[in-house]
Subunit: 407 residues, 2 copies
């Protein structure tokens, strides 16, 4: 996965790194290529749980069922299939989502309302339930306290690498662990939970604060990623906190909450960047930093518009230092700023000052653009707010992958 | 140009078809490839004039100067250069735009406030004024009552064909002509004047009503086109009405106004479709019809989101009948509708009913998608409002063209 500098200590194990979580990933035959396509994640005890979901008006059947089950703030198991989104599938889709939950409930002997279900893949085709149910049976048999990587692999669709990590932090005298896995790639855009993300922790924290921490961190991580401007019918991020670390339960927004939230934010940002880097067909990770905006909202709007612009993305693919497209995207973003004060940097090379082009070194600009990570900084110079968004370049392979996804 | 079924009678001549308009297009050396790159359009007499402009916060220098000059509601000449946008060029950019106007004023002996200037091309580079001024001199010499096509050719950037047309209508006993030319291709998106468009007419109509007719028709034509979701710093559409047809001046929103507006709408829609068809790298024109929406605004939002979706556009390029991406785009558009009532058609083939997929003929769907014009109909079935948007497919060539536009 994309290399990062970690603030917290990183450990192995992904979603099964925290105490009391088992996982498995199996090939149920839903994907045509025979790859792993069904994952189950389960906590030894019912966990406090929270989720954020797509804002798309068209919501997939499993999403609707999971949103309903999460209302109680508790969950113990999550079942995920890749290869079929179970979206735009009507009543039968809802019945199939519930049948999948039923199978998990029965095999694991957990409460039906504590099982979450999600699907990702092609839209508008009914789930092959025989394969799903047999896959559930097989996955339950293979559940393991070291199964995180298997699960991370099974939730992939057009992803080119599995995305998982785990970090530790101290809360009081207790070591607490947060583990996570995600899948991303196409159909990913801001204003959403943007993809599938599953986070586990053995921290003890109330459902309300868990939701609050997830909401806040999602805003600064998954919601700042754009691959192609499209937002999916199936996106969600859920977190399960089973309390087995034995820390004093976090029930207020004090020091422990801040520590936990900061750690969660690091996890989410690492995954968000990995998703951007693994955007369909992408060859580069692009980080857009907007500085000195009049408000957070202005900074976010400008950063997202630049990250989403097809013209900026193709220029980066072609290593063309076309900074005019960057200021242009900021200009139509709706962000408030003065075009005549904007400075633009590519890496540490200043391309424009006070809205006008500088004589920069084309050679140096090309060097920066040919790196695997391209950082663009836009200094609006009229306030004190900032935002960071992540995206990727737009390449021939994006067109290739998406020109024949379904058939 | 893209073939259309005309309601009004089509004639030759483009912007010089109406009485009293001359035009020229010359190669001033601004484009590296030596193609025509500077156009002048002039009316024999001062004309009533109106314009609509980009909503991008970053506005090019010539746009600012032209907006100022148009405040008087009169214009006699328009000068356009391609190859350089004169955007993000600061005070020198404004000085250069004014110097260009000055040269035209002097050569044609018209009022400075009656000259409009516009530029299109790369952002952030100062205009090569020696070339521009010498081009103005040459173009003035070549002005002709049959120069419409030369001008239409000179305003092209990445366009693959010139876009011009002229139609006639009757107002009272007088024959009135409307001529037009446009350039489009990349960086084109709804909510804007979206591209460069120049419309001439010999109709007599007040400036106020001219503006009103242009605003209304732009909403249903140029603002419904999307090539890549990016909105430019330079887009504008201007119209000059010199009154030489001798019709009774249109000064109220009566029958003549309606007739004129309908004709103008046809002109603008033909050009808008040509721009979509000629989207950078495009191989197909896509027409999105949203029917039975609860409001105009809902219909427009849904149609534009579908036309803009990179996933829909790549699927059409690949002739993949991935209707799930269509309903998904409607879902995140912000339009109000019930996902469980939506019907989706590809051409005349029904792909989905009440939000669920149907068993459609893959072969028939591929046949429809392989045509040069693909019509997608989305019936929301909850109201009586509709909208039509135009776009194109997203291809390898779009990436190629935009990966190395500047260098």
């Amino acid at each position: 996965m994309y290399r990062n500098q970690f603030i917290h200590q990183q450990i192995e194990g992904g979603v099964t790194a925290p105490q009391g979580f088992r996982a498995a990933g199996v090939a149920a035959g839903i994907k045509k290529n025979g790859n792993k396509d069904l994952a189950i994640l389960v906590s030894d005890v019912p966990a406090n749980a929270a989720g954020v979901f797509t804002t798309n008006k068209v919501k997939a059947a499993p999403l609707l069922v999971t949103m309903e089950n999460l209302q109680g703030g508790k969950a113990q198991a999550v079942v995920v299939n890749a290869g079929n989104a179970n979206a735009c599938t009507g009543q039968q889709g809802l019945d199939n989502a519930r049948a999948t939950i039923g199978a998990v409930r029965q095999a694991l002997n957990v409460e039906e309302a504590h099982v979450l279900v999600t699907s990702t893949g092609v839209i508008g085709v009914q789930l092959p339930m025989e394969k799903v149910l047999s896959g559930v049976g097989q996955a339950v048999k293979e559940l393991s306290y070291h199964g995180g990587s298997e699960a991370a692999e099974a939730i992939m669709t057009t992803d080119t690498f599995p995305k998982e990590l785990a970090i530790t932090l101290e809360l009081g005298d207790q070591k607490v662990t947060i583990g996570a896995m995600a899948k991303g790639s196409g159909m990913i855009h801001p204003n959403m939970a943007t993809m599938l993300g599953f986070i586990t922790t053995d921290a003890a924290i109330s459902s309300d604060l868990l939701y609050s921490a997830l909401r806040e961190t999602t805003e600064k991580s998954f919601n700042m990623v754009s691959v192609d401007g499209d937002t999916s019918t199936n996106d969600m991020v859920v977190i399960l906190a089973n309390g087995l670390a034995g820390n004093k339960e976090i029930t207020a927004k004090g020091d422990d909450y801040i520590k936990f939230k900061n750690a969660l934010e690091e996890v989410c940002i690492v995954l968000a960047k990995a998703i951007a880097r693994d955007g369909e067909g992408a060859t580069k990770l692009v980080e857009i930093r907007v500085l000195n905006a009049p408000s957070d909202s202005d900074a976010i709007k400008a950063a997202k518009a630049i990250a989403t612009s097809s013209l900026v993305k193709t220029a980066i693919f072609g290593s063309d230092a076309n900074w005019g497209r960057i200021i242009c995207a900021a200009g139509y973003s709706g962000a408030d700023f003065d075009p005549n004060r904007v400075d633009i940097f590519l890496g540490d090379e200043k391309m424009a000052q006070d809205g006008c082009g500088l004589d920069f070194s084309e050679e140096r600009a090309r060097e920066i653009l040919e790196q695997e990570v391209v950082v663009i900084t836009v200094d609006l110079k009229i306030g004190e707010h900032k935002a960071t968004a992540w995206g990727c370049d737009l390449t021939y392979d994006y067109v290739k992958i998406n020109g024949a996804y379904r058939t």
